[in-house]
Symmetry: C2
């Protein structure tokens, strides 16, 4: 596929040298912003519950959602899920080419299926023809837990980054042979370093867009940290075109972490950034309650601005230099700083009101 229709680069884009695929109204790769996705934890056959969860995911900032399609009832339900969903749907298929055909017919925008798993070349041809006719991309998913036996044996039964890449390229080749190029690849290990290295190696070899994630990351706390390190390290190397944070938690919670990772790495920004100084013995104002109030106010704002809340005079004014709005408190007084310039001195109790006032001014200014 040529990049003839290359979209104009957004402010925060992925690597423009990576090929792209269209998934419903989304573009993955080709310099497009990194896409945030998750997976429903509902029973796909329960259309109402699944659509309700998709609505919650969309409200949280999810852009693409995957549902499991383990049986025929699920692929039948898929048609109504696709109709009712505000987001494009990815069908997650294992082994059964019939499920893949049904999911494509039902309107899935993307199918996650491994060509080597669906039984025969004839079956693969059927899936590829059907997907190709509707421009439905296929995601190949390599997990550290399910590498081919011969690769594992070659690597002495240790999951290596190279083994994962070889497994992925083998699947890619099966699609290439059928002339199918609308491919996304994921290489997920539960080990962070293995995941990072596998994706890095794959990107050296191949321009197929990468779906990033740490598999089986764990419960929310540790799982978020593992995902942040692994996905974050790759995004900072400009690797990764779509991300999923996998947690044993409600999928909406995955979305919050995913956006935090995108914002912390500077890859995408959808909302204000709040910088707060760490609490220490020099702290002269009630910083945490103030910061939480500021965070609450900023949650309603959809502008990529930077706000700093500082509790002392040592680092406060300096750190505020980079912020659109800075608040510095100490000894009953409050300073408000705009773009590095002190614009107001108020009583500490008035700091929050002064912040609202400056924020309103800033929002008006951005509209103009």
């Amino acid at each position: 596929m040529s990049n003839q229709n290359h979209i104009s680069p957004p402010h925060f884009g992925s690597d423009p040298r990576v090929r792209y695929v269209k998934v419903g109204n989304l573009i993955i790769g080709g310099g497009a912003p990194v896409v945030v996705q998750s997976m429903c934890s509902t029973d796909t056959r329960d259309v109402d519950a699944t659509l309700a969860q998709i609505q919650r995911l969309a409200a949280a900032g999810c852009e693409l959602v995957r549902v499991a399609v383990p049986d025929k009832k699920a692929s039948q339900a898929l048609r109504n899920i696709v109709k009712g969903s505000p987001l494009p749907i990815v069908a997650d298929i294992h082994y059964h080419h019939q499920r893949a055909l049904e999911a494509i017919a039902a309107g899935a925008a993307k199918v996650r299926v491994n060509p080597g798993n669906i039984g025969s070349r004839d079956r693969l041809k059927m899936v590829v023809e059907s997907a190709g006719a509707r421009r439905v991309p296929i995601r190949i998913g390599v997990n550290s837990g399910s590498l081919p036996d011969d690769i594992l044996e070659r690597d002495h039964f240790i999951v290596t980054p190279q083994g994962m890449v070889d497994a992925a390229l083998r699947e890619v080749e099966l699609l290439d042979k059928e002339g199918f190029r609308d491919i996304v690849v994921s290489l997920k290990a539960s080990d962070v370093k293995t995941t990072v290295e596998a994706n890095r190696l794959f990107r050296e070899r191949c321009d197929i867009p990468l779906h990033l994630g740490i598999t089986e990351a764990g419960l929310k706390g540790y799982g978020s940290i593992k995902s942040a390190i692994g996905i974050g390290a790759l995004l900072m190397q400009n690797i990764g075109e779509t991300i999923r944070v996998s947690l044993a938690a409600e999928p909406e919670e995955e979305i919050e972490i995913a956006w935090w990772i995108l914002e912390a790495t500077g890859v995408r920004r959808r909302s204000p950034e709040l910088v707060v100084c760490p609490t220490c013995g020099r702290l002269e104002i009630e910083l945490i309650p103030l910061a939480k109030e500021v965070e609450r106010i900023l949650k309603e704002i959809k502008l990529p601005i930077k706000v700093a809340v500082m509790g002392c005079i040592v680092n406060g004014p300096g750190e505020c230099r980079d912020a659109d709005i800075g608040l510095v408190g100490g000894r009953g007084k409050g300073l408000v700083i705009r773009n590095g310039n002190m614009v107001q001195t108020v009583k500490e109790t008035e700091l929050l009101n002064a912040f609202r006032q400056e924020l309103d001014g800033l929002i008006e200014g951005r509209k103009a």
Copy 2:
């Protein structure tokens, strides 16, 4: 300093080519395990509150703790804090060489002070002589919020990684001139990429041990993610000899995140690793309650083992191959896997009991 007394490399060590300093009973650098530290949020003059917080920090896994020393009362209190503390104490000093001298006399194991900030070469000589006599290392701390004016001006008032490195090297040079080499350096920006790049550049130039952190990272959720990405990216490059996660939260909470970062990057491990499959529509058992029970049991165990809890037969057995103990559930049945071999098939309701039994066996085995 020669590495003549080079300690034998631990299982998970930092870069042995980095010079080392002794901080109380700890070693930072020289291949020693990465040290976990935090900072008290109490008023240092309140000895009881500070010691109570240090006890909580130590119980959480903190190994080194910093306290602010803003005035003479604080440096007087420091003596009793040092006496009562189970952890070595770092005194955090700004501008006042007298505070530094008092802190060293009070038994601080390390002082965080910037030589360029304490007024004159004579004052610096006094601090360096006093620190040198007691082998108290000095940590130079460069923050993005307080770069020297001339460096900022040179870089067009943008905080750059190179500007941060230059600011640090300038401080290092002041100590070098006095023949003082027991130095730790930190380069902290609130921006993750700037922090990572500054530390990487510094390590290319210099073998001084690095204290890693993201400054003013924010409230716990987003702050943890930023810290994990920044600190994690550096640790995976084998850069960093001690870490602090800075959050606007209770300092004990920083310690939990710090350990998660060390464990996720494979740099240090103090406790079991729990791998849990993400919930999806294929889920055939009540995974989250089971995983939470397993996590609760593992909290009591101080062995670096890997446990996997899998909710379906697609990825479950494969992912369990790497685990010391794997639990796979589905359709009312449970499988227990030890080192890749299925050892028990039980009812789903018996899975937790079977896990306890295998865990006991494993612990007995490790003792032997």
